[in-house]
């Protein structure tokens, strides 16, 4: 029983991290058909932002306040990644609309440059971020110890998801975003500034990547190539979940996260990945567009 609880929890934990990373991707891909390979590096930027926040707290502020650095680090990571995303969108991505494969290659280049920048600034070795002491330890459920850190991440992801939901489905900006997603030309005709919506959406997606980076600092040391470990899995979430609706991304992340943990427990790490991949290919035989696809009468959507 306790093994089962632990496996389920681990699966949930992996899913939540995947979800946080895939959330931004799904939105930019769904809205702009841009494959952002530099997303992993935006995660890395978020992680280093947390690292810097920690250092500032350590050096400048009294030690009694140190434990609260993480509360500040989350918005800081979001903002810094947001700004990076905005710059990226305005300087490069907007020339690549309608060329998804080209955007993939160009953003890969951006990723390379950002990684090397991080290596030049912070050095190639990984750096450790001290987690705040209130996140150490865990809670015992059904005989299994669930670490607070992972619980915290799950909570954080739920919060982000909720915020995204309200942004997309309950705010004016979100309505514009959905309009552009569903019919760009018509939205533009009705006075929606698609340029602005694109820029905002991309920046928000990047900001969420920043939060993901912040969360990852809780799980281990961080390095310049932090994002690359997760990026392909996150894209698989998007492929599996389909684009256009949040619920698809959630299902995709849960599916991959839980199956991955299960298969890895039953077999081993490398075979588990193979099985997950085969399952995804098999699933796509049934639903080629993923769990949730936006209905459209257009042929090439």
């Amino acid at each position: 029983m306790e093994v089962f609880t632990l496996q389920l929890f681990n699966g949930l934990s992996v899913s939540s991290i995947l979800l946080l990373i895939a959330l931004g991707l799904a939105i930019t891909f769904g809205l702009m058909k841009v494959i952002n390979m530099a997303h992993g590096e935006l995660i890395m930027i978020g992680a280093y932002s947390t690292y810097l926040t920690q250092n500032i707290f350590k050096d400048v502020l009294p030690p009694s306040l140190f434990d609260w650095y993480f509360v500040l680090a989350i918005p800081v990571s979001f903002l810094i990644a947001f700004v990076f995303g905005l710059i990226l969108e305005m300087s490069l991505i907007r020339f690549l609309y309608g060329r998804p494969l080209d955007s993939l290659l160009a953003t890969w280049g951006v990723g390379l440059v950002l990684q090397q920048l991080a290596r030049s600034i912070f050095g190639a070795p990984n750096v450790a971020v001290t987690s705040p002491s209130w996140l150490n330890g865990g809670v015992e459920v059904l005989g299994a110890v669930l670490p607070y850190k992972r619980l915290f991440i799950i909570g954080l992801v739920a919060l982000c998801l909720l915020a995204m939901y309200f942004y997309i489905y309950r705010s004016l900006e979100g309505r514009r975003m959905r309009a552009v997603m569903q019919n760009r030309d018509m939205a533009a005709c009705l006075g929606v500034s698609t340029r602005r919506v694109d820029a905002m959406t991309f920046a928000i997606g990047s900001g969420i990547a920043g939060i993901a980076g912040c969360a990852l600092t809780l799980l281990g040391p961080i390095g310049p190539s932090l994002g690359t470990y997760y990026i392909v899995d996150a894209f698989m979430v998007v492929v599996l979940g389909g684009v256009g609706k949040l619920v698809g991304t959630v299902l995709g992340a849960m599916g991959i996260g839980i199956f991955n943990t299960m298969f890895e427990y039953w077999t081993n790490a490398s075979l588990g990945k193979v099985l997950v991949f085969l399952c995804i290919v098999a699933f796509l035989q049934w639903k080629p567009m993923g769990f949730v696809a936006m209905r459209s009468r257009s042929l090439d959507s």
Binding site: S103, L104, V113, F235, K273
Partner: protein
């Protein structure tokens, strides 16, 4: 476009150009040191992958980020043969370290050179056919397909690293001494291998050219420019996509086999995500949709890499990143596109490929 009947001046110049290039390739051993020759041979092997990639990306509009795997599987097939030949009946060293005391059954047939070569072509081809069968038929294409190929890279490399006893793990397979009884390190063998590589490259180039110029190639370009229209006319694009993807993977396998012969090692890091996407960059920089561009791009990029990456490792990464961005944004047709813009190519050029241009869907 050009037939034997029409010997226009442009075509004559083109033929002279090809003949000169072939002559230069074959006479290179006379001018280059053994070290340089070995490097060039490696670049030529890469050019073969680039040709294969160009067939599916440049001509069919499908971007595969999985060619490192096909390349690597070909390389592993050859490496297994070389390892067994070097061992001379003894167990490969890494198997002993991992506690195996008997040669696994699937290693046995690789003692035969012919079998190894056959597998080096067939395994990548079958894997590609498998993936293609389950994706193209369901009209999974564009970026979805690209992401799946990338996932294929990840799982294959983790599998190779994980099954250390059978694959040599992270270190890969290395330590060869003989090929078909000849010492692999001697400069005579090396020269021979170079010539073989050059000959294979030329043969592959001619094959690709034949494919591209044929009716089949015309359908491929049509798929690139408007898959649905091709379908409405009555073709089944999936079949064409599968066939070309398989051919492309087989070419990558051939390249991998040649690569191992020149470099003497294959490991998972040589076939992972990064090498796979770099292969795409060679095609992009040379000019997708032009065969000669793809081959030249591969040689050029690798030459630049071997010149600069060791002296300026940091600068090289920045440069590489910048090349990705610049080529995509400013030079979508690569150096060949640039050349034709400045009328360097004398003959009339095909109109610029306009693939990847997906209109935003109207609901």
């Amino acid at each position: 476009m050009l037939t034997l009947k029409k010997l226009t001046p442009a075509r004559i110049w083109l033929l002279i150009g090809y003949a000169a290039a072939a002559a230069a390739l074959f006479s290179a051993p006379m001018f280059l040191s053994d070290f340089r020759l070995n490097l060039l041979a490696k670049f030529l092997a890469f050019a073969i992958v680039a040709l294969g990639l160009d067939l599916i990306w440049g001509f069919t509009g499908i971007l595969s980020l999985g060619h490192g795997i096909f390349f690597g599987l070909g390389a592993y097939a050859m490496a297994m043969y070389l390892k067994l030949e070097a061992g001379g009946g003894k167990l490969p060293d890494f198997m002993g370290w991992s506690g195996l005391n008997q040669l696994p059954w699937f290693w046995k047939p690789f003692e035969n050179f012919g079998f190894a070569v056959l597998m080096g072509i067939l395994i990548p081809a079958v894997l590609a056919l498998f993936l293609g069968f389950f994706t193209f038929r369901n009209r999974i294409r564009g970026v979805y397909f690209t992401i799946l190929t990338q996932a294929l890279v990840i799982i294959t490399t983790t599998l190779l690293v994980g099954q250390q006893a059978y694959t040599g793990g992270t270190n890969g397979v290395t330590g060869y001494s003989k090929i078909l009884g000849q010492s692999i390190a001697s400069s005579d063998t090396k020269r021979m291998l170079y010539w073989i590589t050059a000959a294979v490259l030329i043969a592959v180039f001619i094959l690709c050219r034949y494919i591209v110029k044929s009716r089949f190639g015309k359908v491929l370009r049509a798929i690139r420019d408007g898959e649905n229209r091709v379908r409405f006319i009555g073709y089944n694009p999936a079949v064409y996509q599968m066939v070309i993807f398989t051919i492309s993977a087989a070419l990558a396998g051939i390249a991998g086999m040649l690569f191992v012969l020149h470099v003497g090692i294959i490991s998972p890091s040589m076939m992972g995500i990064v090498p796979s996407i770099e292969m795409v960059l060679w095609v992009a920089i040379g000019g997708r949709g032009t065969l000669i561009g793809a081959a030249l791009g591969a040689v050029l990029m690798n030459w630049a890499k071997s010149e600069f990456s060791t002296t300026y490792p940091e600068g090289w990464t920045y440069f590489l990143g910048a090349v990705f961005i610049v080529v995509v944004v400013f030079l979508p047709n690569g150096l060949m596109g640039l050349a034709s813009k400045f009328k360097l190519g004398k003959g009339k050029r095909r109109s610029e490929p306009e693939h990847d241009r997906v209109e935003y869907p109207a609901v």
